[in-house]
Each structure stands twice: as C-alpha cells, then as structure tokens.
Symmetry: C5
Subunit: 359 residues, 5 copies
Amino acid sequence: MQHHTKISQSKRSQKAGLPPGTLVHIGRQRAEKAKITVIDYDETQFTEEHFDSIEACFSFRDKPTVTWINIDGIHDATIIEKMGACYNLHPLVLEDIQNSEQRPKIESYSDYIYIVLKMLYFDEASNAVSTEQVSLIVGHNYVISFQEGLEGDVFGFLRERLRNEKGRARRLGADYLAYSLIDAIVDGYFAILERLGEKIELLEDRLVSNPTTSTLHDIHYLKREMIYLRKAVWPLRELISIFSRTDSDIVQESTRLYLRDVYDHTIQVIDTVESYRDMVSGMLDIYLSSVSNRLNAVMKVLTIIATIFMPLTFIAGVYGMNFRHMPELEWPYGYYMIWGVMIVIAVWMLVFFRRKKWL
Amino acid sequence: MQHHTKISQSKRSQKAGLPPGTLVHIGRQRAEKAKITVIDYDETQFTEEHFDSIEACFSFRDKPTVTWINIDGIHDATIIEKMGACYNLHPLVLEDIQNSEQRPKIESYSDYIYIVLKMLYFDEASNAVSTEQVSLIVGHNYVISFQEGLEGDVFGFLRERLRNEKGRARRLGADYLAYSLIDAIVDGYFAILERLGEKIELLEDRLVSNPTTSTLHDIHYLKREMIYLRKAVWPLRELISIFSRTDSDIVQESTRLYLRDVYDHTIQVIDTVESYRDMVSGMLDIYLSSVSNRLNAVMKVLTIIATIFMPLTFIAGVYGMNFRHMPELEWPYGYYMIWGVMIVIAVWMLVFFRRKKWL
Amino acid sequence: MQHHTKISQSKRSQKAGLPPGTLVHIGRQRAEKAKITVIDYDETQFTEEHFDSIEACFSFRDKPTVTWINIDGIHDATIIEKMGACYNLHPLVLEDIQNSEQRPKIESYSDYIYIVLKMLYFDEASNAVSTEQVSLIVGHNYVISFQEGLEGDVFGFLRERLRNEKGRARRLGADYLAYSLIDAIVDGYFAILERLGEKIELLEDRLVSNPTTSTLHDIHYLKREMIYLRKAVWPLRELISIFSRTDSDIVQESTRLYLRDVYDHTIQVIDTVESYRDMVSGMLDIYLSSVSNRLNAVMKVLTIIATIFMPLTFIAGVYGMNFRHMPELEWPYGYYMIWGVMIVIAVWMLVFFRRKKWL
Amino acid sequence: MQHHTKISQSKRSQKAGLPPGTLVHIGRQRAEKAKITVIDYDETQFTEEHFDSIEACFSFRDKPTVTWINIDGIHDATIIEKMGACYNLHPLVLEDIQNSEQRPKIESYSDYIYIVLKMLYFDEASNAVSTEQVSLIVGHNYVISFQEGLEGDVFGFLRERLRNEKGRARRLGADYLAYSLIDAIVDGYFAILERLGEKIELLEDRLVSNPTTSTLHDIHYLKREMIYLRKAVWPLRELISIFSRTDSDIVQESTRLYLRDVYDHTIQVIDTVESYRDMVSGMLDIYLSSVSNRLNAVMKVLTIIATIFMPLTFIAGVYGMNFRHMPELEWPYGYYMIWGVMIVIAVWMLVFFRRKKWL
Amino acid sequence: MQHHTKISQSKRSQKAGLPPGTLVHIGRQRAEKAKITVIDYDETQFTEEHFDSIEACFSFRDKPTVTWINIDGIHDATIIEKMGACYNLHPLVLEDIQNSEQRPKIESYSDYIYIVLKMLYFDEASNAVSTEQVSLIVGHNYVISFQEGLEGDVFGFLRERLRNEKGRARRLGADYLAYSLIDAIVDGYFAILERLGEKIELLEDRLVSNPTTSTLHDIHYLKREMIYLRKAVWPLRELISIFSRTDSDIVQESTRLYLRDVYDHTIQVIDTVESYRDMVSGMLDIYLSSVSNRLNAVMKVLTIIATIFMPLTFIAGVYGMNFRHMPELEWPYGYYMIWGVMIVIAVWMLVFFRRKKWL
C-alpha cells in the first residue's frame, strides 16, 4: 500500500463547486483506452465479446439472457455517460462511478441496485496491499461492472466457470452473478489476510530475535495497512446485509441464502482484521519493552566496568602520590600486596554483580 | 486553528442570567457593518443585489421565486431581530444565530427548518484550520444564510453556477438551494482533509529522518485540529440524516436523493478523520520509541568509550605508582610490553562490542 | 475541587440498615439554620418573602399563582418532613433530598416531578471546582428547590428577572420556572468550562516552556476535575430529554421547545468536556516525551564530557608511568607534542559530536 | 480480595460431564453444618426460630404470613434438595444455588423468582474485599435466602427492624422483604466503595511523597479489586431493572417504586467504580512518570559529578606526567596557579548547571 | 495454541474461484479414515454402533427414536456429500462443514438447524490451547455432529450418561441432545479458563519475584491465547440466544430453559475472559515499570560509585603532580592528612546518598 499511503484526494477538492452529477474522474490516471467486455449467457448458450465502442453493447439490453458488461477504466467520461443514457442511470450514480475514492456502499433505485466495493491485491513489487474500486449496476437481467483497470481483476475464475460449467451459475439470474462477483472480491480478502498473517509472524520472529528501528517502521506500516483494510471491509458488512434484505425484486429468494454465506465470510474477515490489530498493537508493546531491556543491558555493562575500575584506579592513584612520607611505598612487598588488594576488590565486585544477576 | 485553540467562550458565560431568547453576539468581534446580499431566481430570471439596510430585502418575501438572502456578520442584533420579525422566526433561533459557539444541529419549525453548520478553511498564514459558523433558515421559497463574515465563504462556485447555468440548480426549489449550500460546505471539508493528509505525510517523513521536540509539538497540534474537526463533522451526519428524512413538506422527494449523496460524503469525511486519528496516534508511538532508541545509541557510545579507556587508564595508573620495588619498571622493554597489553585489551573490547552489534 | 477529591461518603454507609425513607442528612454539615425564601408571582403581581419557620409558607400551596419555595440547607430533617407532609411527597423523595451524594436524575410522580441536579462553582480560594446538589420538586403551580446552602447559588439573575421583567418569565407557569432554574445551572457549567479551558491553556504553555513534576500533578488534578464534571453532566442529558418528553401535564407544549434548547446546551457541555479530556490525555503524552527528551539531553552532556576527557586522561596517565625506559619522556619537545596530540583528539571528538547533531 | 485473587474454579471443571441439575457444591468448603433460621411475620405477629433439620420449616409453607427462611451454608446437597422438593424448585435453580461462582442474575419461574447476588465485605485481616454469594427464592408469601455462610451477613439491621418495627416492613409482603435484602446488599457496596476511596487517597499521597515498587503493586491490586467489584456490580443493574419491570404478580406496584430507588443506588455504585478506575489508571501514569523523573534526577547527579571532576582529573594527570621538559613544573607558583585554574573550571561548570536548572 | 499462532488459512485462499457449495477441506489434514459412530436411543432402548461406510447409518433416518450420528474427520468429501444427500442438506452447509476456519454461527433451515462451534482443549505437550471445530445438524429426531477428529472430544461423559441413565437425557428429544453437546463444549471452556487462570497467577508471581524478557514473551503469548479464546466465545452468546429463541418447532419449550442455563454459562465465560484480559494488560504495565525500576537501580549503583571515587581519584591525582613547589608533599603527616580528607569526603557522600534513600 506504499503508493497508497500517499493520501491522494488531489482531484476530489478540484471538484468543489461543480454541480452534483458532473462527471469528473477522481483517482490515479490511466493512459490507455477503456476496455469493454460483454459476457452474455443463459443455461444453454454463452457468448463473450470485446468491444471498442460502447454503443456496440447496447444491443444486449433487451435480451432475456443474463448480460455482464465489464468496463476496465473509469477515466473516460463519454463511455460512462453513454452507459448512463442507455441504462437510464441517475446522474449521481454516474458521478460516483468515476470517483474512485468512494466508500463501499449500496443504493437502491427503482430499476437497478448500485453497489461500490473495493478489490484488494497484494502487490508483490512494493510488498504492500493495493486497492481498486469496483462499481456494480445490478439490473433484472444485467450486471455492469466498472473497474479502474489498474491491475487485472479477481474475476478470472468466475469467467472460467461461466464458460465451462452448465450448472447453477448459468441457470440463475443477474442477482446470482452479482453475488458471484462480490464473493470473488471477498475471497480475495482472504488471500490478503494470509499475506498479512505471514507478515505478522515474520515480524514477531524478528521482534524476538533482533528488534531494530526498521522492525518498528514495519509494525507501523502494517498498522496502516490494517487501517486501510478496515476502511474497505467494515462497510461491506452492512452493504451485504442490506443487499440480502432488500425488498427489490431484483434479488430472488434463493440468492439470499448465498448472500448470507458471503455475509458470514465478511464477518470472518472483520474478525481476523480485529485480531490482527490486537496482535500488532501487542507487538508495539513488546518492541518498546525490548528497547528498554537493551538499554538496561547497556547500562549494566557500563556500571560493571565503572564499578570495578574506578576503585582500582583510585588505589593506583593513591600510590602514585608524591608525598615524602608514604611508608607503604618502602615496604619490600608493598607492590605485590597492593595487587592482592586490587584483585580482592575486583573479585568481590564480580561476586556482587553475579549475586545481583547482572552477570 | 492556532487562534482557535484559544478556547474563547468569554462571551458565553457573560450571557448567564439573561432570559432565553436575548440576542447577544458570542464569538470573535468584527468592526464593519454587516453585508446583505440577495439572490433571487427562477428558471427564467436571475437578480443579485447588495443592500445596506435589511428592510429593503423584505419585499422578496412573498415572491414565488426562490430567494437566497445571505447576511455576512452576525454581531448586529438589530438586523437579526428585524429578519426574525419579518420571517416570523422563534426567539431561540435568533439567539442561536448570534451564538457562534453552536454545535451543528437541525431544528424543524412549522414554517421553516433551522440548520447550523461549521464552515472550515485552511488558514495559510497560521498554517492551521479555522472555523466559521453558518446558520441556514430554509423556508418554502427562501433560504436565509447567516455567516460570521470573517474570511469569505465557500459559496463562490455556487453563485457562479446560479448566475450562468439554466439547468437543475435554477429549476429546483429552496430545498435544493439549501442542499447546494450544505454540499459546498462538505466539499470544503475534503480540501481540509487533503491539507491535513499532506501534513501527516510530512510529519511522518520527519519522524523517520529526524524526530525532534518540534515534531512532537506538531503531532500534538495535529491531534488537536483533529479534535476540532471531529466536533464539526460528527454531528453533521445525524443532521443530514434528519434533514433528508424530515416529514416537513419543505424538502421535496427529488432532493432527498441528493441529500443521501451528501450524507455519503459526510460518512467518508468521518471515516477519513478517524483513519487520520489512528495514524497520528501511531506516530506518537513511533516518536516515543525513536526517543528511546536514540537514548540507547547515546548510552552505547558512552559505554564503549568508558569500557575501553577505564581499564587502560587503570593500567597506566598502576605503573605510575611510586613503590620502591616494582620489577616491571626496570625491564628494558617494559614500556613497550605494556603498550602491547593495552592494545590487546582495546582490540578485544572492540571485538566484544562488534559481536554485541553495538558497532 | 480540592476538598472534593476527599471522597466523602462517610455518612452514606452509616445509613446502612435504616429503613428506606428514613431522613438522614448525607454530606458536608452546616451549622446555621436553614433559610426559606418564597417568591410568588403571576403576570400582574410579585411578592418575595423570607420565613423562619416552614409552616408560614404552606399558605401559598393553594394559590393559583406560581410559587417558588427555595430552601437553603438540607440538614434539617424537620423542615423536609413538614414540606413532605404539606406537599404530599413520597418518603423516598424526602430521603433523596437529604442525601447530597445523589446522581442527577428525574422521577415522575402523579402530582409532581422530582429532579436532582448538580450546581458547579469555581472556588477561587482552592482554585478548584466545587459541587452543590439542588433538588427540584416541580408541581402544577409551584417549584420547591432544596440547596445544600454552602456558597450562594446561580439563581441571582433569575430572581432579578422575575422581580423586574413583566414578560414571558412572569406569564408562563411553574414548568417554565423549572426550566429557568435548570438553564441557570447549565449556564453555570459554561463558566466552569471556560475556567478549565484557561487552566488547560496555561498548562500547555508550561508544558512547552518548563515541564516539571508539579505540571504532572496539575495535569492529574485536571483529569480528576474532568471526571467529576463528567459525573455531573452526563446524566443531565438523559434527564432533560426525559423531562422534555414527559407525558405529565405539568410540562406544557410551549416549554418543551425551551427544554430542547437547554438540551442542546447540555450536549455542547458534554462535547467540550470530551474534547478537554482528549486534550489533557494528549498533554500527558507530551509530558512523558519531554521527560524522556530531557534525559536524552542529560545523557548527551555526560557522554560528550566522558568521551573527550577519558582518552586524554589515559594519555596523561601513560606518560605518568615510571618505566625506566620511556624514550618519549626524554624528547626535548615531547611535552608539547603530547599536548598537540591531545588537542587533536579533543577537536576530532567535538567534530564527531557536531556531526551527530549532539552539539 | 487477596485470597480471592486465587482464581478458584477448581470445582467448576470437575462438574464437567455431570447431567444438568446435578447438585455439586462449587466454591470454598465449610466444615460445619448448615444453619437454618426462619423468620415469620405479619403486621401483628413475629416469630424467629432456629432449626437443625430442614423438614421442621416446611410447616411455614402454607401459612398466609410472610416467611423468610435463611440457610447459611450451601455445601449440604440434602438440604437444598429437600427445599427444592418442598417448594417445587427447578433442578437448574438448585444446581445454581450450590454453585458459588455464579454471575448475578434473575430468572422468572411460574411460582417464584430466582435471584443471585454477590455480598461484599471488607476483610480487615487481609485488607482486601471478599465476596459471598446470596441466592434468593422470592415466592408469593416467602423468601428463601441461601448464603455460603462464610462471614456473617449484612442483614442484621433488617432483622432488627422486622423484630421491633411495626410499620411498612411488617405490613408489606414478600416482595418488599426481597427488596429489603437487595437494598441491604447494595448498601454494603457503599461501605466497600468508601474503603476503596480511602485506599486510593492513601495511595495518591504515597505517590506524591515517596513512590516505590510496593506502591506500584498496591495500585495493581487495587485495579484487580476494581475488576472483581465490576463483575459483581454491573450485572446488578440489569437484574434490578428486570425485577422491577417483571410482569409476575409476585412484585406489587408499590414495591416497584422502592426497586427504582435501589436501581438508582446501583447506578451510583457503578458510576463511582468507573470513576475510581479512571483515577487508578491515572495513578499508574503518575507512577511511571515519577520513575522517569527520578531516573532523570539520578542521571543529573552523575553528570554533574563527572562533568566537574573529569576535566580536573585530566589536568592533574597532565602535571603528573614525567616529561623531562615541562616548564610549568619549574614555575615557583605553578602549583597554586594550577589550583586556580581548576577552581575556575569547577565554578564555571557549577554556573553552567545552575543555568540549565539542574541545581 | 503454539501451533495455532501459525495463522493457517493456506487452504482458504486456494478455494478462491471455486463455485459456492464446492466441498473442499480447509484445515489441518488427517491421514486416517473418518470414524462413524451412531448412538440411537429412546427411553426404553439404547444402541451404539460403529460403521465403516456411511450408507449403513441411513437406516436410522426414519426411526422415531433419537439418533446421534457422530463423524470424526471432515476431510473425506464423499462421506459429507452422501450425508448431505440422505438428510437433504443445503450445499452451503456441506461446504461450511468441511471448512474448519468457520466462525461459530447458527443457521435455520426448514428441516434442520445448522450450528458451528469451537471445542477447546488444553494441549499439555505444547502448554497451549488448541481448537477443534464441531458442526451440528439438529433435526426433529436426529443430531449429526462433525468433528475434525484431531484429539478425541469432550462428549465422553455425555455418552456415558446416555448409556447408563434412564432419566431426562433419554426421555427428551434431539433438541435436548443438541443442548447437551453444546453444554459439554461450554463446560470444556471452564477447564481452559482454570488453566489460563493458573498461568496468570504463575506469571504474576514471576513478575513480582524476577521479571525477565521471557516473562514478557509469556505475557504476549497469553494475550494471544485470549484473542483466540474471545474469537471462539463471543459469537457463542448470540448463537445460543438465537437457538433458544428460534421459532423452529425443533426446539421444544422445556429445552429453552436449559438453553438459558448454558447461555448464562457463556456470559460467565465471556466475563472471565474480559477480566483476564484486563489483568494481563495490567501485568504489562507492571512489567514495563519494573524494567524502568531496575534501570533506576542500576543507574544508582553507577552514580554512587562514580560520585564517591571521582573526587577521591582527583585528589590522588593532584598529589601525584610533579610540581617542584608543593608544600603539602613535604609535610611529615601530609599523607595521613590526605587519607583523612578522602575518608571524610567518602563518608559525607554515603550520608548524602543515605538521605536521598538511594542506599
């Protein structure tokens, strides 16, 4: 999430003052053209086509089959506007689709349901979590999905299943397709959690063996990724709960059971995120204590050295004085006696420290 | 928010004992006269006038067009009283308009809805967030807005749109105008959040590179700004929710959808504020650890120096003693041998510290 | 709140075992006799009388005018009992009136509403907040207020208004009077908040300029005052909410609007208290960090001194040795050369510390 | 609570596997036989008898008078079983009575209400709070109370009142008796709170005057007692609320008012416990800061001594060198001059530390 | 929970992309075949059989007696599929049974209720808590329990009771059997709590006597076990509450009372876990303070030694100087006088430290 920690709402404030419903792309820019893919199927047939212009896919609107239009790239206002016109979408929905800083949410309109979700990837390059917004328009016989189109998506397996399988996925309607998309996204969260779990374990090992300042910063970044994760996941719970209990006739009874299942998964993700948070904040305590402990260790070394050598140096200093009358200096074995005294003092100190368990 | 951290309720307590509904201005004073601006429009026509006396604008009251009366400066009790008389406002409303220490709130009366909001600016001079209270009276065909009139407002874009555009903004009623004003204020919050986000990033960089006491104080001020921000934003959520669900006939069905949109923005602002709070408190932990770490580093330097030179100084002291019988002193190579011993000890110490990873 | 931090429930436990409804005064004792003041008014007339015996004021009971009986001093069980008999108050109410350790609460009885509140003063002598309990009995045409009678009250302005003004205050009934009393008490809280705000600012300045142990104790006392304040204010919110929504016919429709206003003030007080709590706990963090920082500074001084003088002392020690063969001692410029070496070492150390930004 | 900090659920797990309703005593054992006391009264008569066998008291069951059977000692399964058979109690109730590790709770059955409470004492010997469980079976004309019988009870005053008084307590039914028992227990909590309050004050004084490790451990033990107190008090709130709102005809209308009163007391106890918790955690902060402060003080002493004597010792070392050519040594006043230099350095250092406010 | 701290969701993410309802075993693998045990009983008869193939037990389905089918080992998809077909279970239920990373939950279907629970053991070998998932299918006359089959179960006592007892357990239906299973699991939690309680006590003793880094890590591991415990226990509360209030006719009225009892136990477990959490976090504070205290002690030793010997060494150094004119050196008793001065200084220092309570 390295590049995401750059809190980039630069475009959001530029929008201030524009009338609501104005289409302005907010988020990271992408140079290429938007990609449009249409998958159309029912129990008996399946077609998958790629289009360059959005108009080509309007023909699917009135077909009784289930149509899934996927648009990769939300920076092109024209496409979004045309889709809006064709499918009769509310201007505020179109505005939200283009704003990639949305919070996950669900909104019911008379003919369709609008859902915003966050897709999460683990970016191996930056070793961080990265977010991409997905907007779904769920109608009676179609689902339109808008992606930012940054890094591929998590729907590959789903497409594969639609192509090959002739079972439930093909038999059921657009609501089941929408469920499948949400389920694929939530399944993606588990992969992220596993990566974070591994990171936590690694950090704990480092905490025990060799805690350094970089460990501290890694804990800090981990904490931050958790904050982003929470922002993506928490609203999902309510979203799916509303979706499964909606009184719109778009969602059929049989699908509600599946939505309850994905709801359970969301709860599980939230639970795990909260546990991780607890663990990470526990790690910070450990880190702070280990820093204190090392300071203690350093100070003990200093104290032991000083406590042994200061008295000895003092004694050597005493017999380095130049007084005329210092009888000890004349003693034949004075020098050896003083070495004896010094060794006794040093040993006595070492015993003292051993008893205090400093050695 | 520098000057705001001065918790100035000096006027609030002076009001103690006055009967409820007494008009007393609470807040920062302003010398100039209040400015009155009236914008009156419907789909076909648009007028914008500035008045010196409040009476002049009463003529708009019974027009069927939408009238927006904006009053800059709430310190003038006469104007507020006259407005109250003309538009039949409750004494408690008039009192609240003059009290700039209000919490954001909404109150329904039979003929109008009273809304209090906080407008936020980023004051470049003091590098801090600054607040200004806006009161809205939303009637069937009018909106009256009262501002403290300290630093301009965030409604410039809206005025521009009303002047030029002939679309939705001009076609819809006073409730849509009220929505537009609230939307402009909430849009302003995003700008503030971006500034705070930048500040947080800057502070994090400084934390990593060179944490000083001033970093700590900056974290503290940031935390405080967050506290003020929360106070302004949290009540907004409930406010807009109540506004959009009100059973008053002032708010039309079509506007509710727009209010839901601004409600979502508010949630997003709150979310971001909460994330920032989490980040800032994480930064404090980092700061404290880095202070401990530096203490550790200082102590290591001290300990290394002491541990190397104390034994050497002791040895030099021993051979500085004046005992008559010290055989080593007579040895021809005694001096060189003792240097050898001292170098061995010093090297051995350095190896010891290297192994302990202190060097 | 200095003297209040003495948690004095000494009398509360002595009450254990007495039957419920037994009148026992709990709280700080007062020597003098209780003072009884009766204010009786309607729109046209106003009388204010002081009585020595409680019986004298029973004559007001059946008058159609609004009667406000204020009793200063709750230690006299006889007065309370007689009032209870005259106004038909429940034994538990009488018991609660005498117990000055009550939590703010409201209780509805068939003929009257019983309200307990905390009046707060800022005691200049002890520089602390001090609490006094006020009990209100609100009937159809009377309000009875019981105070501990320790330090005057916050109702002076209200009495003044009743005497002079002929407006709303005199026209409306006992419920409006009760509202006015509550409003006066809540207004008093704002004065306390301002004092606490000033204290916080002062402490923050001291934190930045010269944090000492006494700063720490002041933060601690401030925190404690906040705890007391919270205990007084939090229950108020619910209390006023219940009062304004009561289905008793004692509260008239027009008064509910005023109660909503005082409810808003209460929310504002709570908000401010919570913000202050956040600020004060932030100050503690700052204090702890500044202590650590000063330790760091102290240690740096020590380390610099030791690092410079330990090697120099060692060198001096070496040339203080008494070996017979020490060629350097014979060199004609040996002494000056050794001074040179020592100066080079010292300067090199200073440069080292300068680079480490310790100087 | 010293002996309670021994978390003794040793018996609880031994019960695993037994069928629900099996009577197994869980808790501290008691050697003696259970004591049975029966108090039977109505407005006109009063009898108090001690029985050895439980059968003797079954004769009271069908009397119209109010019967209070108190059983001291829950370790004797036979007695409990017989009571259960006679009063037709549910096996789960009998099981719960014997399990002294219950959480305070209330359960309604058709003929009776079952209540579990915690009685708290301050044990002077161990200077700690000690808990004892009380189970109440409240029927139409009887109350059966089961105590662990460890240390007497808090019902002495109540018994006295029943014996002597002819008023309300004797006139009202079993529900009022149950209320009186609960009230006596809650009154006991106030005594505990006063003791804890005194402990807190004492600890605070010690914190300011002389914080030692034992202070820390006392804070820790206090915190623990608070945890136990909370566990006993929190569920009480809901318990009494349910009891007062029960639709069972066992509780009469007039008693509900008294239950509301004891409910208020419970809230007050909870409030105080929460305030104490805040205070105690504040004390921990103070303790930690004072430890840091003392470290600072220690380090300052060390630094001052080292900073003064290290340069002086170096100078003395320089003039202890044995170079042949050291002109200063030959100067007639060299020795006095060098003393002068050393005194100047020492004074200059002292001034430096004075300016830094270390002295 | 050592091996559990390895956050092992490795299999969970592999499932991504499979259609919902696909049976994939998630969790620790087991090599052996699944064990199937069928207990069938009513008030008069009891049979207990072990089967190798799942088909054998389908004959029990239509018997009027209560049938408990226990399956040890959820890795065998075939068995689970066949059970699903025979008892008409929803594909999502079958999927959840195989996924041992479930959160405790309850789901009502028309013919059966599906419950997921966590069984906890204390693993003596690793001195840690270990979890095993149990799934229950509760029908009108059957209960099917699926265990991971890792380490035996907690149902031994229950089986014993069913075999021997002819009472309630055998008389009541499948709902009571389900209750008994849940009760046995919750009873197991108390054993875990006792073990954790003992661990806490042990750690506290070590904290007081000899806190080391390993103490810190043990606190950390304890905290983690608490996190796992919470995850297992918290959802249980709602689960049992839903189970006891379900409107399905599977649960009979008489059983609801027993479910209320196990609900109380769950609350008690949660309460204890929360208390333990409070205690453990208190221990961390104690640890940190004791580390600081020891640092203080170390620094005091160093400071005392340095403060005594630095001035003495300085004095010895002064009289080791080689100035030609140093009158003290010539004094006949100079050496003894200087010893006197040094002893006076040392004693004076010791008195100073004694007064400062450092000795």
